[in-house]
């Protein structure tokens, strides 16, 4: 009953109407400043947008709903993390070998969540449409959540294990952490459209399930309640982000036919960049997790070949083709994890986590999962290395690896059609030679050489003498360049890397828990009671 005789009851609003009303027309066409001065980054990439209002905000969350929904999730998550810490949950995981995987996670992935947060925040400023700005801001604060909760979930482990205590410092310096760092910096230093195609579509939509499902199931299989809780709590955020990924791509493709070629180029680039980044996960799934969920080869088949195949069939009507070199990833799937683990093993003294050779039982598992490759190429290598270890002269690589100028992995991969030949590609740019691990990486460089020549290549920097702490004297008689470079990177020589059986984590684990540090090996120390067999504890 309104005073002016309007007696109609207030209209009932559905959730969707409510969202539309509350955000309706918040944006306006500026008249005091020029639009191109307000949104300066939106034109240089060449993407054409005719109507920003066609962008459907896939989240449709008002802030009051967001706060309540997320606040409730946080309450539950921290209740579990608190209980985990109070109950010394870090000792409930399968073994200390599992913790080595957490180091890769904390030291490599947390900073990616953070970079994603900042990248989306910039988009939340730069997109001229209100819908996409809000969507980007929501994703930005979600990514901040992920960085935050990951640190909180893993914080407890840092108090009992080596190698996690210095993660932000290491992320800026460690040679293999430049792989994830350069990946996200490449995206963040691109224009806003390339960023969103790279991260929302190529990474979140096409590849994220691959990172998420095996990783979180792996944590669950290995009794890591802290990481599992974080992961499943983050999953509902991820579902929103994936929706944004597909919305974005359809929006760009529908706005102008001229966008198709640019979008295709970015899909090709970021699929390959994302694939190379996720290769780290291949070693985690196949080698590091003590109890495995599935093999990398199986995961790639399900999450890329099958799911990705269906996605790209759906996008064909826009003129989008499956990513270039997708065929190479399929040819490589029986090899990548083994090739990478071999390089990790050889360079183990320069790593932030302990390394081991697979046991007999594990090698049998590989033979079953990789019938075409494992026995032929890798079993003999591991058997030989095991013999050298037994003889007390374990194989070590004494020189630093040649890094790929684009993805920054060592050039460790083999030819798509010949597993006995390393891939080595080169480009000549302004009289300098640049090296690549693959055709995919070479193509990316050749398209933007001016950008990629600026990459901070850790190995090259070490050899140029840029990776020593202040006060180090390279002319001193006892100068050890390798040890000094490790210190610069924030790695403790003789503590962080090396053979796992000699690692402090392994010794302490057996002393503290009386359980073997690596369930696939016998006890490493006398701390494990002789009556106890080196089998995994009963499953919960």
């Amino acid at each position: 009953m309104a005073a002016d005789g309007n007696t109609k009851p207030p209209k009932k609003l559905s959730l969707k109407e409510n969202y539309a009303m509350l955000t309706r027309g918040l944006d306006w066409e500026p008249t005091y400043e020029k639009k191109e001065d307000i949104f300066q980054k939106i034109d240089f990439e060449g993407i054409k947008i005719h109507d920003w209002d066609k962008w459907e905000d896939p989240f449709r969350l008002t802030m009051d709903a967001y706060w309540k929904y997320q606040g409730e999730k946080e309450r539950k998550l921290y209740a579990i993390i608190d209980a985990f810490q109070q109950g010394n949950g870090q000792f409930n995981v399968t073994d200390a070998r599992y913790v080595q995987a957490l180091k890769v996670f904390l030291n490599g992935i947390v900073e990616l969540e953070y970079a994603s947060h900042r990248g989306f925040c910039m988009l939340g400023r730069e997109f001229p449409g209100a819908g996409p700005r809000i969507a980007a801001q929501m994703q930005s604060i979600d990514e901040l959540r992920h960085a935050t909760t990951q640190i909180h979930a893993i914080s407890q482990y840092n108090k009992y294990f080596e190698g996690m205590e210095n993660f932000p410092y290491q992320f800026d310096r460690v040679w293999y952490l430049s792989i994830p760092k350069s990946f996200f910096e490449d995206a963040c230093t691109s224009g806003p459209f390339e960023f969103i195609v790279a991260i929302s579509f190529a990474f979140e939509y096409v590849l994220t399930n691959l990172a998420f499902m095996p990783w979180m199931s792996g944590a669950a299989f290995n009794g890591d309640m802290s990481t599992v809780s974080f992961g499943f709590s983050a999953q509902s955020d991820e579902a929103r982000h994936m929706t944004l990924g597909i919305e974005v791509i359809k929006f760009l493709l529908e706005q102008d036919p001229a966008n198709v070629a640019l979008v295709q180029k970015w899909i090709d680039k970021w699929f390959w960049r994302g694939y190379r980044l996720l290769a780290l996960l291949a070693t985690m799934m196949d080698y590091i997790l003590p109890k495995r969920v599935m093999s990398w080869g199986e995961a790639w088949t399900i999450y890329y070949e099958e799911n990705g195949g269906a996605l790209f069939a759906d996008l064909a009507r826009y003129g989008i083709k499956p990513p270039k070199y997708a065929d190479v990833t399929i040819k490589e799937k029986g090899r990548v994890s083994h090739e990478m683990w071999s390089v990790f093993y050889a360079n183990r003294n320069a790593l932030g986590f302990g390394i081991w050779l697979p046991s007999e039982e594990e090698m049998d598992w590989f033979s079953e999962k990789y019938p075409d490759t494992f026995d032929k190429y890798y079993r003999p290598r591991y058997e030989y290395w095991r013999q050298l270890e037994a003889e007390g002269k374990p194989f070590t690589c004494k020189v630093l690896p040649q890094l790929c100028q684009t993805c920054q992995w060592p050039c460790l991969y083999t030819e798509a059609d010949d597993a006995t030949e390393f891939v080595h590609r080169e480009s000549d740019y302004k009289g300098e030679i640049f090296h690549f691990c693959s055709d995919g990486c070479k193509d990316i460089f050749d398209d933007e050489p001016e950008k990629f020549v600026h990459a901070w290549m850790p190995v090259n920097q070490i050899y140029q003498g840029n990776c020593f702490l202040p006060g180090v004297d390279p002319t001193a008689p006892d100068f050890n360049p390798m040890a000094e470079a490790l210190k610069f990177m924030g790695l403790k020589p003789g503590v962080d890397g090396g053979l796992f059986k000699e690692h402090l984590d392994a010794k302490r684990w057996e002393q503290w828990t009386s359980r073997p540090a690596n369930i696939h090996e016998g006890a490493y120390t006398d701390s494990v009671r002789s009556t106890e067999t080196p089998t995994p504890r009963a499953k919960p």
């Binding site: 009953m1 005073a3 946080e74 921290y78 109950g87 959540r145 992320f171």
Partner: protein, 331 residues
Amino acid sequence: MTVEIRTTGVKPIRNTFEHLAKRFGDKNATRYQEIAYDIQPLVNFHYKPLWDPTRDLYDVRRTAVVMKDWYALKDPRQYYYGAYTITRAKQQDALDRQLEFVEKRELLRVLPAAARQQLVKTLVPLRHYEFGANMNNSHMAGYGFGTIYTQAAMMNCMDRLGMAQHLSRIGLLTDGNTGESLTEGKRQWMEEAAWQGVRREVEHLFVTRDWFELHVAQNLVADSLVYPLFYQHFDAAFAAQNGSALSSLTDYLMRWYDETSRWVDAIVKTAAAESPENAKLISEWTVKWRDIWVAALEPAAAAALGDKAADVLAAVVAAFNTKAGKLGLKL
């Protein structure tokens, strides 16, 4: 199964991360410290941003303010994401009860037509001001330096979207969910003389690139004038005529403002205390933007408060000057 851990004798080998131990000693860190400090990459950047090739991705040179340690810019609320969302969720629960009370009794709808019009033309256009503040804080969070500052700016950015939506809701409570008030509010914002100064200066902020200057102009100066002017003084004048129904909803905005000011002020105070150069620069910005905003708000204040406007605005400015003095600024 039960877990048999011989916990006796198991002592942590360290109590916190190294970067936190360097700052606070090796003791258990708070959850705020674990995310707020040193997370943003600092060195060895890989590529030149295509959109700003003369600077790095994260670069101290995006503001003229200079800090020895950017992590001095602490948030006194110590918000990390979980503490932030849980706090806001609680506050929203309380607000929901107020909204329900006003909605059920149609307290805003039953106001006389003239009062409703006054409410709509005075408060509903401010949803656009909030949306501008949302974009500006996105700039500070995106281009600012140091997680300790940028994460708080990110939360503030989302808060401003929330405030814009809250003001929309006040409009809908007035028009019975038809959205007519929003249309009228937007018309006011785009066309009415009373609002053009405010809109001009919001757009002016959109082209202000120094993120710390933007923090001063938007979060310190503009908000410290806009919030008391409308949600305190206009609200009081409106309540004197029409009862306190509206106050139950503007109270939320003022509480939010009081809480957020703790952060906004702490940033300014810390940066000004760092060096005479910072203090001078921030004081200059404050004077510049205060004068701009006072002039911009005069017509809006006149439309809202009639012949009391000049006195009210003078009181708001005087309160602001006092506050700025306490923050170490010389105006």
